[in-house]
């Protein structure tokens, strides 16, 4: 009988704290990769921080904050090729920025404006999944479908610790394993599902342990260590491309911000732990690492941050310049070939709205 592959229970880390914990390194990354990763982190961080401000200003709606989740998103995406597909949850709403989706588009999504939606095939980025875990089977199906077609692409699906409780996670993971689908199951374990702590979600010692039940490898990485995330994802991608099927990655972090702008975590969160996480947040950690390496200079940093700030300024300006959506869009894209009833409804709505305008 083959040996079971238990979860790698040690948290993989590359980036140290500059003092007691020494830095490691990752094979095959050159300076441009390092800076590319940094650019991604800063872009995501800027997007997130600006969005919270925009929300307070009433310029976007409720918003799911991803502060301190950037390393998981940037590290994982850097390990993918362009033909690989990304299946984000609301927590990765802005991950498409790393694939060229304009900031304006994603801002519009949070503004409830139709230009916030995109054609996934244009970026190989699926739509933002709002319901928990239900996109796991989609990602499994896409990966399996690519494999059936003899294409080389794989897919990655992002979900949270809470998502591992849903049947959809289970069914998707199992399908991927059985079909040998080239899928990376990327679990953002920020240890909270809104107000529900991990210990009320599972009794598993680690979430990576769940991989055992699907007969797939499970690995654990420090989710605030962009290089560790990159490396683990790269290995999973290699395995997927080699035809060895899916991998489960548990990226361990801690939610250092409210669940979303509407949430007040003071009733349930451990404020001290949050402060500690904030001190060690992922963008600063990587920045210090790059400075220790001598790769990042003040000047370069300024430039990268400036570019990100510009992108956001341009993004919100473009979003706000967009004309209000045509109410007639209500009937658009419900079907490729809509039933005749919809045309009648559209005409009726136009008549009633027109009557008001007139």
């Amino acid at each position: 009988m083959a040996q079971v592959l238990p979860a790698e229970r040690d948290l993989r880390r590359v980036i140290g704290d500059g003092e007691s914990v020494p830095d490691g390194e990752v094979d095959g990354l050159d300076e441009s990769d390092f800076l590319e990763l940094y650019r991604s982190l800063v872009l995501l961080r800027t997007y997130d921080e600006r969005s919270v401000v925009f929300h307070r200003q009433g310029r976007i709606g409720t918003y799911a904050i991803f502060w301190n989740h950037e390393a998981m998103q940037a590290g994982a995406v850097h390990a993918l090729a362009d033909e690989d597909w990304i299946f984000p949850s609301y927590r990765e709403s802005a991950i498409g920025l790393l694939r060229g989706i304009p900031a304006a588009t994603i801002l519009q999504w949070w503004r409830g404006h139709p230009t916030g939606w995109w054609n996934p095939a244009d970026y190989n980025v699926a739509s933002i999944c709002v319901p928990i875990a239900t996109h796991v089977p989609h990602a499994a199906g896409l990966a399996w479908g690519k494999k059936l077609r003899g294409e080389n692409a794989c897919s990655i699906v992002f979900f949270g610790d809470g998502a591992t409780s849903e049947g959809a996670f289970h069914e998707g993971a199992n399908f991927a394993a059985v079909m040998g689908a080239p899928l990376i199951l990327f679990c953002n374990n920020n240890q909270w599902a809104i107000s529900t702590p991990l210990e009320a979600q599972t009794r598993a010692e680690t979430l990576a342990d769940k991989a055992v039940g699907y007969g797939m490898p499970g690995v654990r990485v420090d989710g605030a260590d962009v290089l560790a995330v990159y490396e683990a994802t790269r290995e999973a991608v290699e395995r997927a491309r080699a035809g060895d099927g899916p991998t489960f990655i548990e990226a361990v972090t801690y939610r250092a911000a409210p669940h979303a702008t509407a949430d007040d975590p003071s009733a349930y969160i451990d404020a001290e732990r949050v402060e500690q996480e904030k001190r060690n947040e992922c963008v600063g950690r990587y920045e210090r690492y790059l400075r220790r390496l001598g790769v990042l200079t003040d000047e370069l940093d300024q430039q990268i941050r400036g570019e990100a700030a510009d992108a956001m300024r341009a993004g919100i300006a473009a979003a706000e310049a967009e004309a209000p959506a045509d109410p007639g869009l209500v009937f658009e894209h419900a079907y490729v070939q809509p039933p005749p009833e919809l045309a009648r409804d559209r005409a009726e709505l136009r008549r009633v709205l027109g009557g008001n305008e007139g």
Binding site: G61, T62, Y90, W109, W110, R111, G112, H113, P114, G116, W117, I128, V130, P131, I132, G162, A163, S165, E166, G167, A168, A193, I194, S195, T196, A200, Q201, T202, A262, D263, A267, Y268, P324, A325, D326, P327, G328, L329, V330, F331, A334, P339, E341, L342, D345, L349, R351, V352, L353, G355, N356
Partner: protein
């Protein structure tokens, strides 16, 4: 004897009811996602965990089918679970347990065991939220045999119908109009307050046209009636209990005017408005002096929220329906 009342918002009335019912019957427990530590994402369950402990107000794992499925087992152990689904569209994973088991298990036991589960959830649109926070899924529930369904449109009914549901021996689903959780306030009886299932409520009396609605469409219809002031005398019937249904009240309100429009937020095809219209087409055919109109959400995915107002039945669309009935 005057009943003491307090002015509460709709969601406060829900919270008041839960406190009272958990106090009253120690086999009642509340369970769901974030109902405990956080007191619910709308604070409907606030304070329950502190008062009744973590065994009677339980933060569950994130799994709606698991929530409803374990509730079935809890009933078998003698509990009366009040289950929260965090949002309308996030209740869909529980439909399998609902249809396959919740609606059938009493039957399966030849009447030997009862499954007094209450499922409550915020429902409906207009709240400027990302997709899947806006659905009106009552058809999926009311079409299911063995299930009862009620939808309040006032703070007092939010308490009274929920109390009736919790005390009912059958599974009951309560949809709470989240758009009005905090905007609708009203006098709510303190302590015991039960609004029996199966009794509709006449909201406005009128002679020319009858509007039939429930949930968040009731205040909308009141707005439409106000807009029609002087133009038409409109009767408004709040169905409030979809199953059991107060068919007598429906038929009486239809007969009174002979002109009926039904207003429902859910998509039209097989919505509950279709059921009401079908009942009228069978049992009120001689009373009807005009077509039975339906003003409903459209049969399309609930839209991006900047244009959701065009999707939802509006005062304009209801007024238009009333005028068409009058002109017939």
């Amino acid at each position: 004897m005057a009943v003491a009342t307090r002015e509460l918002t709709l969601v406060e009335a829900v919270n008041d009811c839960l406190h009272h019912e958990l106090e009253r019957d120690d086999s009642v427990l509340v369970m769901g996602e974030d109902v405990g530590r956080a007191g619910g994402v709308f604070r409907a369950t606030a304070g329950l965990r502190d008062r009744f402990g973590p065994d009677r107000c339980i933060d569950t794992p994130l799994a709606e089918a698991g929530i409803l499925g374990t509730a079935v087992g809890l009933c078998m152990a003698g509990w009366r679970p009040v289950v929260e689904m965090q949002y309308d569209a996030f209740s869909y994973p529980c439909l399998d347990q609902l249809i396959t088991h919740v609606g059938r298990y009493h039957w399966r036991t030849k009447g030997g065991m009862e499954f007094p589960i209450t499922i409550r959830m915020p429902y409906g649109g207009g709240v400027r939220a990302p997709e899947l926070h806006d659905d009106s899924p009552e058809t999926y529930y009311v079409h299911t045999p063995g299930i009862k369904v009620a939808i309040p449109s006032t703070a007092a009914d939010a308490k009274g119908l929920l109390a009736a549901a919790i005390r009912d021996p059958d599974p009951v689903v309560i949809f709470e109009p989240k758009l009005h959780y905090r905007t609708l306030r009203g006098e709510v009886p303190e302590g015991d307050h039960v609004v029996p299932l199966g009794e509709a409520r006449i909201v406005r009396e009128g002679d020319d046209v009858t509007l039939v609605a429930y949930g968040s469409m009731v205040p909308l219809c009141e707005g439409a009636i106000d807009a029609l002031d002087g133009e038409a005398s409109v009767e408004l019937l709040d169905i409030r209990s979809l199953k059991p249904l107060d068919e007598d009240a429906l038929l009486a309100a239809a007969a009174k005017t002979g002109r009926v429009a039904i207003v429902q937020e859910a998509p039209r095809v097989c919505g509950f408005g279709a059921e009401l219209a079908a009942i009228l087409a069978e049992k009120a055919i001689l009373d009807l002096q005009a077509p039975v109109l339906r003003v409903t959400g459209y049969d399309v995915p609930y839209p991006y929220w900047t244009i959701e107002d065009a999707y939802m039945p509006s005062v304009e669309r209801v007024v238009d329906a009333v005028r068409r009935l009058l002109a017939f």
